[in-house]
């Protein structure tokens, strides 16, 4: 292995010299953290994108009412100092005095009421409606107190308040409008956004007036620049050439070699994300297509060696979830799920029975790492399904998926780091834009499970849904993610299992 490394280093040096760059030390002197990511963010407004990149940005730039401690997963006060739950569909928040938004305006109950009423209104056309469709309205009960009414009980409501409900500044957003806000957003988080170029870059600067005593703390690093690049190879080049201080979701095969570089460090942390294969059982891409046949879908589940993908490709402790959710989530009952162990012979037999003895052609869109997509493609080819891999940018794929154009695609879902199946199943099975199953039974169970506060009732409903989903082989969970991070050794960065990098906690060594 040593010889290999030396050769690698030699090539690397050649590349770097060719690029005219010397592996510079991290930008400690300029106090700027340079971040490079590949999921370009078309709209930085947290409610108008459903990319993980967007969630990450929103936790730097915005504050929510509640904070979830990343170590203990306990809920702590953030913009709200306390909250009460007088009944199953009401939450009363008392707000923190003396908090300022980035534009200098004071945070009040008006901002909270404005935000919640806006996101509760279906006419606002948010990117992930299933995250907010349980909210009914908010009303001001004092300058610093708000009452939120829910359409139905939601046991995970406060988690949603912590993770996906950042607060808008009412006066500013009404003044500039939704489009103006996306170009120059203002929040109350530890970093303020100084320049936004949609899909290209976002610049941040420490918010000096951030309220003292926040569990997020005042940011240690003064400036932060986020840049988007098209692919993993470019991302790695930027890191190796010293033009980036931090990247993530890098190819796990490169963890060891990156760790051997003197100025770099690579770490990984298990996350709440799962990779999945969506199949068009609902005939959205065309009536009577192969995916509408149960035996074809089951054949696909049998054809893919998910265990090998998890253990050999994803590595780092990745597992195969038996149910279509993350095992730690409430309601994610793996026991009732139908199991499909790797069995290509059975897959071929099922295909023959379904009327496709010679297989068929299908487009397989993907935004996961190219070699992971190729692995799935090869497994499908091995049983006769001629899948054509179409590697797309995340935002582009999601757009096509929502439009009902993708017969089969590979994606990943992080549940917004919410530890409850209501953050994953409804998104893919509630009859919305991402639902390629359109199963009325499942939809009904999900409504039942999402509108009760009794754990037994919820578990029962979700188990029924999981049983049907896996028996019908609608949506194949492939593997859990182990998030990889690569960064400059000079950077003191801690990854958390909720897959939310906290740059406001990072500092220079």
């Amino acid at each position: 292995m040593r010889r290999q490394t030396r050769l690698g280093a030699a090539i690397l040096t050649a590349v770097l010299l060719g690029a005219g760059a010397v592996p510079a030390a991290a930008q400690k002197s300029a106090d700027t953290l340079r971040i490079v990511m590949r999921d370009a963010l078309p709209n930085v407004d947290p409610y108008y994108n459903n990319l993980r990149t967007g969630v990450v940005m929103h936790h730097q730039g915005w504050d929510a009412l509640v904070y979830r401690n990343p170590d203990t997963f306990k809920l702590e006060p953030l913009l709200a100092t306390e909250w009460k739950l007088p009944d199953a569909t009401t939450i009363e928040f008392t707000l923190r005095p003396g908090v300022k938004f980035h534009d200098g305006s004071a945070f009040t109950a008006d901002d909270v009421v404005y935000t919640i009423n806006l996101i509760a209104d279906p006419a606002s056309r948010l990117s992930t409606p299933s995250n907010y469709n349980w909210l009914e309205k908010a009303e001001k009960t004092g300058d610093l107190s708000v009452r939120v009414k829910l359409k139905r009980p939601n046991p995970a409501a406060l988690e949603y308040f912590a993770l996906v409900i950042p607060i808008y500044p009412k006066a500013y957003r009404e003044k500039v409008g939704a489009e103006g806000y996306a170009k120059a957003p203002v929040g109350a988080g530890p970093y303020k956004m100084t320049k936004v170029e949609p899909g290209v870059s976002i610049d941040f600067e420490r918010f000096e007036d951030y309220w003292a005593g926040s569990p997020k703390g005042k940011a240690a690093i003064k400036k932060m620049s986020v840049r988007f690049v098209p692919d993993a190879a470019t991302e790695m080049t930027e890191l190796l050439a010293g033009r980036a201080d931090w990247i993530w979701n890098m190819n796990p095969d490169q963890i060891d070699p990156v760790n051997r570089m003197p100025h770099l460090q690579a770490v990984r942390k298990e996350s709440m994300r799962i990779g999945y294969l969506s199949l068009d059982a609902a005939a959205r891409t065309g009536a009577d297509n192969p995916m509408t046949k149960l035996k074809v879908r089951q054949a696909i589940w049998y054809a893919i060696d998910r265990k090998a993908i998890a253990e050999k490709l994803v590595t780092g402790g990745s597992r195969v979830p038996s149910a279509p959710c993350i095992p730690s989530q409430f309601g994610c009952d793996g026991e009732v799920a139908a199991t499909y162990d790797y069995n290509p012979a059975k897959a071929k037999q099922l295909l023959t029975e379904a009327g496709y003895p010679d297989g068929f052609d299908v487009e397989l869109a993907s935004y996961v790492l190219p070699q992971w997509g190729s692995a799935v493609q090869n497994y499908l080819h091995a049983v006769g399904i001629r899948a054509k891999l179409n590697q797309l940018q995340t935002a582009a794929l999601i757009q096509r998926a929502k439009a009902g154009e993708l017969r089969a695609y590979l994606g990943s879902w992080g549940s917004y780091s919410i530890n409850d199946v209501s953050a994953i199943l409804p998104n893919f099975f509630d009859g919305g834009a991402d639902d390629y199953a359109r199963d009325p039974d499942v939809q009904q169970w999900l409504v039942q499970g999402g509108s009760s506060i009794s754990p037994e009732v919820r578990k029962e409903a979700y188990s029924a849904a999981i049983k049907k989903i896996t028996e019908q082989a609608y949506w194949a969970p492939l593997h859990t993610y182990v998030t990889t991070y690569g960064h400059a050794r000079q950077l003191d960065f801690t990854p958390y299992p909720d897959e939310l990098p906290r740059f406001y906690l990072a500092k220079w060594k």
Binding site: M1, R2, R3, Q4, T5, L7, G8, I11, L12, V15, A232, A233, M236, T237, L240, N251, D253, Q254, P257, D305, A308, I309, K312, L313, L369, P370, Q371, S374, A375, Q377, N378, Y379, H381, A382, K388, L389, Q391
Partner: protein, 288 residues
């Protein structure tokens, strides 16, 4: 034709001949590998083995006995893929030359022989073709019709005929007034006979050289298109595609892109050497 008799210095001739021999050897070896190679390599180029990924080739530490050139990022045998890739490269090269040759030579001979309006049309077609950027058209075609082996051949074949046409036209103009053509004409030979039996054999040596150049170009273009994801669709192991798939690994497992890169380089070099050799050989023959 009266031409000054050029006597090549013996040294150049020897180097030229050696180059020709090397070129022929390279092309022959690669062609043989393409035809029978996959029955000699004990692995299937498509079977992945995720437990056996990124094994280095035989000259590096940690290599595995069975996998001479190691395995790729999905555990597929690299030698099997390389050999299969040779088949695809040569297939594309030959098919493209046949397609483009048919178009280019026909147009060139017609233009060169008849002149006048016909020649104006041929010249116009050549100029039009030269003003079309190949990669851009390939991009558009793939965007509209999807990618595939046949489509790549068709696209390249329909685009790379210009040099055939130019050379065929110019050489036809040179030979059309020769006595044997006039003699055949007076003897009552039909037009197809004149073009095919009298003209074509006499310009064939020039066209053979063009064919080698075009073949090398087609192979390189296919690799470039496949690298961009616009050529041969995976999992077919085209060399360009192998380089593209190995791109993520180039920093730490450089052989993944070095091996297909070197193979591509050697094949194109071999074909070009054959072309040069042919030019020298046929050129000197004509002088005799």
């Amino acid at each position: 034709m009266s031409e000054p008799i050029a006597i090549l210095p013996p040294q150049t001739l020897r180097v030229g001949t050696a180059g020709f021999a090397i070129g022929i050897a390279i092309v022959a070896v690669i062609a043989a590998a393409a035809v029978v190679g996959n029955s000699l390599v004990p692995y299937d180029p498509f079977t992945q083995d995720l437990g056996n990924r990124l094994k280095p080739p035989f000259w590096m530490e940690g290599s595995e006995a069975g996998h001479l050139l190691g395995t790729d990022q999905l555990g597929r045998d690299y030698l099997a893929r390389l050999v299969y890739g040779a088949r695809i490269s040569l297939l594309i090269g030959i098919m493209t030359v046949i397609t483009s040759g048919l178009i280019g030579i026909t147009l060139g001979i017609l233009g060169g022989f008849f002149g006048g309006r016909v020649d104006d049309f041929v010249l116009f077609a050549i100029t039009t073709r030269l003003s079309i950027p190949v990669v851009l058209v390939a991009l558009a075609v793939v965007g509209l019709m999807g990618s595939g082996l046949g489509l790549v051949v068709a696209t390249l074949g329909l685009l790379l005929w210009d040099r055939f046409a130019v050379v065929a036209r110019a050489t036809t103009m040179q030979v059309r007034n020769h006595d044997y053509v006039s003699a055949a004409w007076c003897a009552g030979a039909s037009m197809p006979h004149l073009l095919i039996k009298e003209i074509l054999p006499n310009i064939a040596s020039h066209l053979a050289v063009v064919a080698t150049l075009e073949m090398a170009l087609a192979i390189l273009l296919e690799a470039a298109l496949s690298f961009l994801g616009l050529g041969v669709p995976p999992p077919l192991p085209s060399w360009g595609l192998m380089i593209a798939e190995g791109k993520d690994y180039m920093f730490f497992s450089p052989w993944v892109i070095m091996i297909p890169g070197v193979a591509l380089f050697v094949l194109v070099l071999g074909i070009n050497l054959v072309g040069d050799g042919l030019r020298n050989l046929l050129g000197s023959e004509r002088l005799r």
